[in-house]
Symmetry: C2
Subunit: 191 residues, 2 copies
């Protein structure tokens, strides 16, 4: 029996990403080493480095993968009216967070220390802000107040979700409604 | 002439904190060393370590000092009605941020990587949340939805301020009004 299984490059990458998602959500970032990850994957360290040049790059790749999955999940149905579209996306997002609560909290705490990771999170935030702004203001670039409101609201959502995960004393629907009220409040123009 | 000036302990500490505030806002954290700081202060490295056991502890002490100053600055006048009280505190806060824009942005980006610093920022956030919640709900602990809303709104404020500092295309009053509308939206109970 050969020690290493021969796998197609894409398939190996796919399996490494799945393993990475599992390892990074059950261990602290600093606890993991490329040697340990290779061992868990049953491949040589050299082969792991062939796929990912560093632990940071590997972590960022697993995050990008999860972010892509999440993006598909919260893709709004363009046939719904705006408020229902947002409610549906928020339901999908909060459902995902609830299923991945430990990973989410760990990520939010660790993000800013790792440049590659911050970049993924910033990119997801930018894309989400653009989607919401396109829905609210389809014609041309949004006015500054609207842009600031939507971008700040994404911070609001992160803060609200962390508070929710810490206390667990709000129903998921209540949290969703709170998030929607905050957004409407922020985007309503000054009288 | 003696190389080191003899100073009273409190006075020396005070001067070191002022120097630290200046150094940490004009240099990246990683650029500074305890040796370099001692040199800039005109004292021995040993004496600097006598006041602060590590660079992290020194940085955290300068932050705690600035946080104390900021807290006095935004102390609400208890005689004002709640909305005006919040507006006055926000004006003071945004004025301080505007004067210390570079330091604020640097801090917000670097915070989470340094445990001592995260602790100071978390403490300021907790104290601010408590002050607002006491004003909104003086009798007993706030309901979970209100607590989550106020805590998340502090994240909103950080996000809005960073966006404002980056683009500078909103007047300070517009930003203040946006912050207030977002808070009212978030704390208004569901119909």
């Amino acid at each position: 029996m050969p020690a290493y299984t021969r796998l197609d490059v894409d398939e190996r990458r796919r399996r490494l990403l799945d393993l990475g998602a599992q390892l990074f959500t059950t261990h602290a970032y600093d606890e993991l080493s490329m040697a340990g990850i290779a061992r868990a994957a049953g491949i040589s360290k050299g082969l792991l480095y062939h796929y990912f040049p560093s632990k940071q790059a590997f972590f960022a790749a697993t995050l990008r993968d999860a972010a892509g999955e999440l993006e598909r999940l919260v893709q709004p149905d363009p046939l719904l009216p705006p408020a229902e579209r947002l409610a549906a996306s928020l339901d999908a997002y909060l459902g995902w967070v609830e299923e991945n609560a430990g990973a989410y909290a760990r990520l939010m705490r660790s993000v800013p220390a790792i440049p590659d990771v911050r970049e993924v999170v910033d990119r997801v935030r930018d894309a989400t802000a653009r989607t919401i702004l396109d829905g609210l203001h389809p014609e041309g670039p949004p006015p500054p107040g609207l842009r600031t409101a939507v971008r700040a609201w994404l911070w609001f959502a992160d803060g609200a979700i962390l508070d929710w995960l810490e206390h667990r004393d709000l129903a998921r629907d209540e949290l969703r409604d709170l998030l929607m009220r905050a957004l409407w409040g922020a985007i309503t123009p000054a009288p």
